[in-house]
Each structure stands twice: as C-alpha cells, then as structure tokens.
C-alpha cells in the first residue's frame, strides 16, 4: 500500500479536481482558493516529482500558452495507482475522523 503525506493528498485532490487542466498555476490556485494555504510553485513540483517517481501520477509537457514568457506548462494526470492510494488515504481518514467534528468544536476548534 502506498502511503501519502498530507500535502501530497492535497495536491492529488487538486489534480483530480482540475482534470485535463492540471498544471502548476491551476493547482496552486485551487489549493489557495479551497484551503486558504499559500504554497510555492517549487513545493508543488517537488511533491509531484516524488509522486511521479512512485508511479502515482504522470506528466506531459503541453503546448506553449500566452503569458508564460515562452515556457510551456507541464500537465499532470493521476494514474490508477495514484487513484487507489488517494482513495485508500481518504477512506482511512474518514474512518478515523467520522463523528469527531463535534468533539473538536467542544475542545475549542472552530
């Protein structure tokens, strides 16, 4: 079973959500919009490179688009192994976290 770090999970969910259009800028914006976290491009690429080395995602260099000073984007796609790992992690999290939100609120987390 492949283990995923929490940041890797976030990045994978962002890639999944974006589908065809998942590359550095869109992944970063998705993470920022949905989690409010500010992440650097560098962190996203290093995480994705690790995942790619484990065969969980694949990448392809796309056609150049405007506004990137001539540098083409690199698109990422989740592989079957990646989807399995992400699903397993998410299910683990749900199984453990189920019904505990109330408790967290009681402890002062809002």
């Amino acid at each position: 079973m492949e283990n995923l770090g929490s940041f890797e999970q976030l990045v994978l969910f962002a890639v999944l959500r974006l589908g065809e259009g998942a590359y550095g800028v869109t992944i970063r914006e998705t993470l920022e919009e949905r989690t409010g976290r500010s992440v650097s491009s560098g962190a996203i690429y290093t995480a994705l490179a690790r995942l790619e080395a484990r065969g969980l995602v694949s990448s392809s260099v796309g056609e150049p688009i405007a506004g990137r000073a001539g540098r083409p984007p690199k698109y990422y796609r989740i592989e079957a192994a990646g989807a399995r790992a992400l699903r397993a992690s998410y299910e683990d999290l749900q199984a453990l976290a189920g019904g505990l939100v109330g408790k967290l609120t009681a402890l002062g987390a809002r």
Binding site: Y23, S40, A43, A69
Partner: protein
Amino acid sequence: VEPSPGRLLRAFACLFIRGPHAPYVLGDLEESLQRDVARGVSVRRARVRFLADTLASGTTLLRDGVRRSESAWPGASWIDVKLGWRLLWKTPVLTAVAMLALAIGIPVGLAPLHVIEAVDSAPPVAHAERILGLRFESIGRGGLPATALDLAVWRESLASFESLGAVRQVQRNVASDAGVGSPVPSAEVTASAFAILGTRPLLGRTLSPPDEVQDAEPVVVLSHGLWQSALDGDAGVVGSTIYIGGAPHTVIGVMPAGFNFPVREQLWLPLRDRPASEPGQGVGLFVFGRLADGVGEQAAEAEVAAVHAGMAARFPEPYGGLRTEVVSLTSLVANFPKGGLAAADGIGPLSLLSVLQLMALALLLVACANVGLLIFARTATRAPELAVRGALGASRTRMVSQIVVEALVLALLAAAVGLLLMDALAGTLLGDRNFKRHFGFYCKVQLAGQRCQRLRRGSRNRSRVGGRVAGDSAWVLNP
C-alpha cells in the same frame, strides 16, 4: 501593454530557481503574475508576490535537490563531501597543520572587531541611543570641560532634551568594618542621571533633587558589587551609615548588579557643584541628557549650535574658539571622537579601526595562503588519480569541483574550530573577569551564548523581595 515582473526580477528568478523543474516553475511565476494583474491586483503587489514565490520555490527546489543528492548546481555532489571527509583522515598531518593555521588565523582576524565592539558599545540601559552627551570641542587645541555653569545654561535653554544630568568620576576611601579605608572608584552625579538612564535601584531609592542641596545630609547609593563586598550583602543596609572619605554617609539605595555608571564606579554621591559666576571656572563634568520624545539627533544638534552661538556672543572667552558637540554617551565618557572609536584617526583616510582590522586580516590572509599552498601540494601528488579519472571520462568541471569541495570540507571544519576558539578566548579575555574590570559598564561582548543570556535576562522581570539577590542579578529597567 502586458504586465511583466521587470528585467531585474526575472533575471534573479532565473538565477535563483535551478534544477529540472526550473522552466515550469518560471513559467508558472510569469503566468501567476499575469493572472494576479488581470484579477485587479496592482502590478507592484503582483511583483512582490512574484519575488516571494521566487524565494520560496528556489529554496524548496534547492533543498529537494540536496536531499536527493542530485545537486541543483552541476558538478558537485555529496560524494565529494564524503571524499573530502575521508581525505582529512588520509592526510592527517596536513589536516592538523591547516586546521592549526586557520584556527589561529581566524580568531586573530576577528579580534580587533571584537575588542572595539566590546569597548565602544552603548551602556546597557533602555534606549541608550537616545542618551547623548554635550562637550566643548575645538579643532586643533582640545576642548574645554563643561562645568556646573554650562549645565545650568543648557538646562535653561535646551528644549531638545527631556532632562540633563552630569557626572564626575572621583576616588573615595570607603572604610570597612575593620576601619581600614580603601579607594573606590566613585561618581558624583546629579539626581536626574538615574532618571535619564532609567535604571531602578535594587534596594531603597536613588538620589533626588533635595540631596543636591549644599548642606543636605550626606547620602550615598551603592553598587551591587560594593554592597556585596564591603557590606556582605546585608539586606537592611538602607538607612545604615558608612564612612566615605572619613565622613559618615547614609546609604539610601543599592543599584542592581552590572550598573557601574559611568564606567566602573562603585558608589554614587550627589553632585553639589554650584554654578560659578564666570564661565570656564569650576571643576569639569560630563554633561548628558535624554532626547525629548520626537526630537531627532540632528534637531538637537541644531539647537545646541544655536545656544552655543549665543554663549559665544556673550562670552567670546572661553567659548569663542569652541563649538558644542553632541556625542554618544560612550564617546563622551571614554573621550572617543564623535562617531565612536571607529572614527578615531589612523593613517590618512583610514580610521584606527580599519588599520588594526587590515593588519589582522593580512595575518589571516597569510594563514589562508599557507593552507592553500598545502592543498595545492596535496593535489599535485594526486596527478595519477586524476589522470585515470580523466581517462575514464570524468569532465574537467567534475574534477575541479571535487577538489574545491574537498578543500571546503577542511576549511569549514577549521573555521568552526577557529570560531569556537574565538568564542572561548573572547569569553576569557573580554568576558566578565578581566576585561570588564577595566571597561565595566560599557563592556558588551557579543557572543552567541552571552547574547542569549542577555535576552533571557531582559525577558525575566525579577522580583526584589528579600535583600540577597543571586550574584548575577537582572537589570531592573523602567518600562
């Protein structure tokens, strides 16, 4: 026009972001900037974000590259570091000699800066940079000491200073229990001096204006050191009588440890000078004050110059050929030039500090050159090894970077030893025991450990319950 990060930022990003992901990260940075601007963010703000992301991404990629030992900068790698480490033990004599040279050269190279920093530092009181001294200076023929009359004039006419005070260093005999007197460095100060410095007494009170009256009861404030040594740290010392210069004085307070204003004084007596009728008469004083809120040093200097012009117009003798200089408290008391010891005259345009420092650096350079020669000799003996590697296909860059990294391992290690030695030396030579005896209040040896201690000391607000306070007690400062 399409918004852009600008040539400079773009060049910096290209230099700073390295490694296989660099082109994609750089493209992303450009696109993010475009998107930010399209979203209504100002170009300025977008560029700041560009820079922040450049720094964050660059460091992340670099760290990642190092971790996976596939360096972002071509040529060098972890294996070179390992080889360098192994080489240290393979040529132990060279290692020992090189280490010795650098371990001595580095402390010597750093020593002048350390000494000057230690001597020429502001006293350890709150906002010391706002406490300035006033003195008469003339070009060529030395100054004139300020007197009680000058203090009175300045107090009346200067609005730039919240309050002014004065101090004079004197020697007084303090009689011990056995009746034997010993000379103690003492100071006669105005009551305002304690308020200007902002240091509260550990016990009792400091001097107050009524103490300055000519025939008032003789009183004294003791230093922590004198309290401990001469009075054995007696908690009930306030109100007792000690003999100073043969005359009984009532102890009214004890200052916290480390307070030895102005330099290394042990007791403080009220300054009871009456302004003389003629300017230039009377005993010399160090006059200083705390700048009033919102007044800068330049504004104070302008006002002081104006007041001096008035004094010189009324009394051409002695003020005519002089000017009033506004200097730091350290420069005033230690008689350093305006701008501190660093501004002291040396050779030509070089200050004394730079001459000393250059000499020390030359010595370090000699040590470095010797180590360089040794490493060169070591490399020369490895010609066969390098020839084989070249024949096997190693590039010139690869081999050169290996040699550089190997030398760097040795140098870093030697530098670490040198710095530790410096730390230990400065601790003993400039630390509490010897150096402080001479430079007392002003000595501030800035070393890692002691700096931490200072910070801790600052954050801890010590209670002053009970008489005896552990030897190294806290500074009790006004908020």
